[in-house]
Amino acid sequence: MSKTASLQKVTFLKLPEPLVNSIWLLKLKGALLPLIGLAIFMVLWNITAKNIDTSLGQFPGPVQVYEQSINLWNEHQAEQEKAAAFYERQEQRNAKRMAADPSYQPKIRPYTGAPTFFEQIWTSLYTVSVGFLIASFIAVPVGILGGLSKSAYAAINPLIQLFKPVSPLAWLPLVTMVVSAVYVSDDPMFSKSFLTSAFTVALCCLWPTLINTAVGVSSIPEDLVNVSKVLRLSAMSHVLKIVLPSSIPMIFTGLRLSLGIGWMVLIAAEMLAQNPGLGKFVWDEFQNGSSESLARIMVAVLVIGAIGFFLDRLMLLVQRKVSWDKSQNLR
């Protein structure tokens, strides 16, 4: 609708040419404008960076950031080689120890070197997924409950309002202490820093899903509810056959918001919990204070942004797939 409207305007005001031509132009505009925006940003970035002198040297411009991204890749490659040598040495050691001590159960341990930037990206993605899944498993059922029953919603609502605005930095010390106290194991499956980060993410990204689910469920058309009543569906089938399908678009809107918040929160959580992901990368580089640190942090900033964008698009795709109302304008 809006597209055709603007199209008419353009053709009417400026270009009294055949319509086909205008469509082609529009497509070009669609591709060109973001590029122009990017180019202007690059130029501004470059100029501004040259004029900012920090105690760690000049603020990094696009060139330095490009160099550092190459550097990070090279470091990753070098680390792979070191890892290969590590495994080789380990096998030799194991063999010798077996010879000296036959009762020894040889074991191949994972490489002990520092995680590279690319491994840290994976750690971050893994952590945010776990946190997001925990949040979703709590938020969707509670949201459905709140949507179905007005009294349940009245009971949960103050809690939602109270906890929704709390910053991850406030949760983190509490979560850290609880995890250290509760999760005691000789051979832990997960590291505490991972659990702390994941739970903090979960606590912060719970709320949009919860609220959207409740709203989605409570706004099911009256007709559908009546159908369910006429058919005398059991409570379970009512939820599965009527409530879920009709509130799925809203639930996914909530999930998408939640994932976005989760990704933002994760970086802060990792910084403080020392979970070896992108947050720790940024913190460590800040602490390094070398002349390359700022450029390396800038690489991380761009990667964090790109991944956030990618995650959002991914959720959008899923949202489009599950949404029955195809006329809805999703963006």
Partner: protein, 442 residues
């Protein structure tokens, strides 16, 4: 690859296999974490059958908490941390150390502005300030701030850090009161009666905090003093070598519980660390340039190599261009640097008492008991003897274990010329004009 050739001699000496082979050790980004990085890079940990992961920690508190709750098997610690934790100043937990990581390595830096005001009060020779610079030169500056009603803020890295005690020692020697702690009243800010207000800032943030004007100066380890010179934001006025020649600095700490559970692993860790310390000091610091390259990697200290090199290779740059030789700025092995002397532990305890972190008078016996609980030269001796037997170290690098009682001979070479005798802690405290002594309480 040299590590592979050493494999047979080191690991398979006898049947004392490590109880735990995969270890995670924490450190703070400071050059004195070098023994850990070297033991890893040179394969000394692997030679002991240990698979060690080194992980930088956000700050000293996080590091200590993670050793206490078992997320870290051990860590590079401030000498005061195991002592403070064991006697319950801060988080209470029994921590032990069997390896002292280095001597010296810190400095006190002030901002350019303060330096300009201080400089008028410092005697000059050949156009250069005469060293060591005493806090007497800072005293008029602090007085003028107090007269104007402005607080004189300085930074140190942790309440039980060497840096806190060194900065306090230097200030008090120049008649500037650095303030008391009163933990029994819940006051752990350490600013009671203070003329200079000290507060905690993590080492890597020191230069930035000073640049922002939050603090006027700080005491910190390298490379953060040289960083200030390099960035032109401040001037180091004194190194801790000049405050107390060859003072013990960092230690390698583990929890008592962990040490009891993993005696072989602990001994093997100490063996690897001793070899790393030997490597760092070998042939008159010949390996230091290589060490600098390793430390400059982003996963270790990560600062620029030329900044780290400034202090690691035997020189120290005070004012920009005023580079002076300080061959012993960082000592990792010589002078028995790695041996955990009881007297070193007791010096830290005396300073805790002096500044009120220990609120009541304790008998001399108490000092000896705490030192014995925390410092474990017995484990160090076992590790060293193993190395000697394996031909990896020579006996003359170590104290004579049969006769060593753990007390260094009374030490002089303090900036205020007071002699320290570890065998008489209470008598030592009496010698200071500023500080708690005898039965004094706050």
């Amino acid at each position: 690859m040299s590590s592979i050739t050493l494999l047979s001699t080191a690991v398979f000496a006898d049947g004392d296999w490590p109880e735990k082979e995969e270890l995670k050790l924490g450190f703070i980004k400071l050059t004195d974490m070098a023994p850990l990085a070297i033991a890893y890079e040179k394969g000394y940990f692997e030679d002991e059958g240990l698979y060690v992961t080194l992980e930088a920690q956000a700050n000293w508190k996080v590091l200590l908490d993670r050793v206490i709750d078992g997320q870290l098997d051990g860590a590079h610690m401030l000498a005061g941390q195991p002592l403070g934790a064991t006697i319950g100043f801060g988080t209470q937990s029994h921590i032990v150390t069997a390896f002292s990581m280095d001597l010296n390595g810190n400095g006190i830096t002030v901002s350019n502005d303060i330096w300009a005001q201080m400089k008028q009060h410092i005697p000059h020779e050949n156009g250069k300030p005469v060293h060591p610079i005493k806090a007497d030169a800072l005293k008029p500056v602090v007085d003028s701030y107090i007269a104007q009603g402005k607080p004189f803020n300085m930074g140190m890295v942790f309440p039980v850090s060497t840096h806190n005690y060194e900065l306090r020692y230097w200030l008090a020697a120049g008649n500037i009161h650095p303030g008391f702690y009163a933990p029994h009243k819940g006051d752990i800010s350490g600013q009671i009666d203070a003329q200079a207000l000290l507060s905690v800032t993590p080492p890597p943030q020191m230069p930035a905090t000073m640049e922002a004007g939050t603090i006027y100066g700080y005491c910190v380890g390298e490379p953060w003093n040289q960083q200030a010179v390099f960035k032109g934001i401040g001037v180091p006025v004194i190194t801790d070598y000049e405050i107390w020649k060859d003072n013990p600095e960092k230690v390698f700490g583990v929890s008592k519980e962990w040490a009891d559970k993993n005696p072989n692993t602990h001994k093997r860790l100490v063996k690897a660390l001793i070899r790393a310390a030997m490597w760092l000091d070998a042939n008159d610091n010949a390996n230091r340039p290589e060490a600098v390259k390793i430390l400059a990697k982003p996963q270790y200290v990560g600062a620029d190599a030329d900044v780290i090199a400034n202090s690691m290779t035997g020189t120290f740059e005070y004012e920009k261009g005023d580079k002076r030789p300080v061959p012993d700025f960082n000592v990792f092995f010589r002078y028995y640097a790695t041996y955990p002397y009881y007297s070193d532990a007791i010096w830290y305890l005396t300073q805790m008492r002096r500044w009120g972190q220990i609120s009541e008078q304790k008998p001399d016996e108490w000092y000896f008991d705490v030192a014995e609980k925390v410092y474990r030269p017995d484990i160090y001796a076992q590790a060293a003897q193993d190395l000697i037997e394996e031909g990896l170290a020579s006996a003359d690098g170590f104290p004579d274990f049969a006769s060593e009682d753990g007390f260094r001979a009374p030490q002089t070479h303090f900036i205020d010329n007071i002699t320290y005798n570890g065998k008489a802690p209470n008598a030592y405290l009496e010698k200071f004009s500023i500080g708690l002594k005898g039965e004094q309480t706050l």
